[in-house]
Amino acid sequence: MWFLCVFYHRLLDYRRAEVEALAELFGAFADTPEDDRRLQWKLPDDHHPDSPFHFVWLPSEEIARNVANRSILVKGIYQLWGQGGSYEELEEEIRSFPDDQKLPYLTAESTFKIFVDTFGKVLSLQEQNERIHGLTYIPFKGRVNLRNPDHKFWLMEIDDYGSNNGLPPVVKKRIFFGREVGAADRKLLPTYQLKSRRYLGPTAMDAEMAFLMANQALAQTGKLAFDPFVGTGSILIAAAHFGAMTMGADIDIRVVRDGRGPDCNIWSNFKQYGLPMPLSLLRADNNLPPWRPGLKEVFDAIICDPPYGVRAGGRKSGGRKLLKGTVGPYTVPDEKREDHIPSTAPYCLVECMHDLLDLAAQMLVMGGRLVFFYPVVRGEDEVVVNVNYPEHPCFKLVASSEQILSLRYSRHLLTMVKTTSYNEELAESAKKKHIEFRENHLKWLEDGSLRAAVFSPVDMHAGVDGKSKFDRDSKPKYRGKYV
């Protein structure tokens, strides 16, 4: 059945992807083959894909409720009773909406509340009341209850406004009326917001984004989620909130083991929210992972924000000089082994991605999900220069959502599903690639550096006419993916 799905006007690219993932989680695709697991979407007439108003087909109201209630970006999923370009059209539609679908929600024993909401305009309280009173043709028999109504009805209006509202001026005046089926619980966000979290690192994942990642990963009770770049645990916290068991690894021992003291570390972050502790935290290098040979298909999800060298650079075992070849291989003297601190070297993005996909291909269960951020350098005129996402024969990309971070670069949240099992052949080619990375360490480091593209001075990017291609004035006013 079709539902009206209204989104928050945020993280536009993440919204449909979240609903698709949650639809999968709540069984909307139970009888659908893997390749067709897509929801049907429609837009209201003349609406732009970035409009908050969408129609989505879901198999049942129960699934729609579960999806909406678990989501972060769904303002509400509604059973649409009518829509129109004017209040007259709306009335006509609501009147002709079948009684058997209306009357059960209008009974004398039930309580209700009508919300008036607008997009891109503001209505005074008086105007809102006028609109509510204009609905008297609907036979409400129940009592009003503003605190805790049984049924919530929404009247939503969007106007034909100018071009300055974060949407292109394609939307005509449209009014929707519907019964709320479910809505996101955004109260989670102040509870988990980073500013009140005890232990934070420089790249701790924002709570809203972490929840979106956990939703993409289908985190739920009884499932095991792993973050190989765990840091302060900000992503695993979201997964644990949804009931998943968690495991994390990091190459930085200070972060995983010590934190900032006995009450300010990863464990204390979980404790702060009353979440079950991670099953395991360990110090390990994703480039030389310590998993026992033969161990495979243990994680249901791998969720991470890999270090891509813009805000934080990745490290791997090895030592800069060792990999450059300026010092030969050496042996750590026996008496120093106990307290020896192994040196590390920069870990370039390409290699980091290669290792991550190879690890995920081995360690995820079939149908398990790999959810991670991938940085993309942005070009002129909003055109993205390189959209070559990493690929792996075991994985199918099911969602990619862009978040623009600066004029120069954005990050894309990629969701991949494991569709093919790992085999000897893949292991062999991964090993070859590992050696090739090691032997050409410097070349890979130079080629793969995003930092330069993001932080180099502006005039390096000057175009032929001498104007910077990141000229702020030439930037289109439409802000779509910035919100």
């Binding site: 009884g222 068991m245 360990l282 110090r283 040979p293 075992s317 750590v332 082994r337 192994p342």
Partner: protein, 126 residues
């Protein structure tokens, strides 16, 4: 470090052909109650190296696990409880994991195993 983790880790030092299971030397261990989830235990069962789990549990003084286990046991509540306890509730806080071939010690401090290799142990000198 729970025994689940111990069951997943091996010594990956170059040249070591069988780095699993790591021998456990325990200075301090604690028991922590963990919420019981039968589905999780059943899903994990085929991936566990049973003998390694039994031996590790014995090192921590817990000898209630059967020496051998097959999936039919997963219907028994009594078995699931013991398996749950051994896998998830015994924590090594301080100790070392010892590579069975080279004797290299991987320290466990504050419950976190440190699996990072030294410069002369990694793959890069194949």
């Amino acid at each position: 470090m729970r025994l689940l983790t111990h069951n997943m880790l091996s010594s990956n030092i170059k040249g070591v052909s069988n780095g699993f299971p790591l021998r456990l030397e325990v200075e301090k261990f604690i028991e922590k109650e963990v919420e019981f989830n039968a589905d999780f235990l059943r899903n994990m069962f085929p991936k566990i190296e049973w003998k390694a789990l039994v031996d590790a549990a014995k090192t921590l003084g817990y000898a209630d696990l059967p020496e051998e286990a097959d999936p039919s046991l997963l219907d028994s509540d009594d078995f699931l409880k013991k398996y749950h306890h051994a896998l998830l509730e015994l924590h090594v806080e301080e100790g070392v994991l010892i590579c069975p071939e080279t004797g290299r010690k991987f320290p466990v401090n504050k419950g976190v195993p440190n699996m990072l290799l030294h410069e002369d142990e990694g793959f890069w000198r194949l």
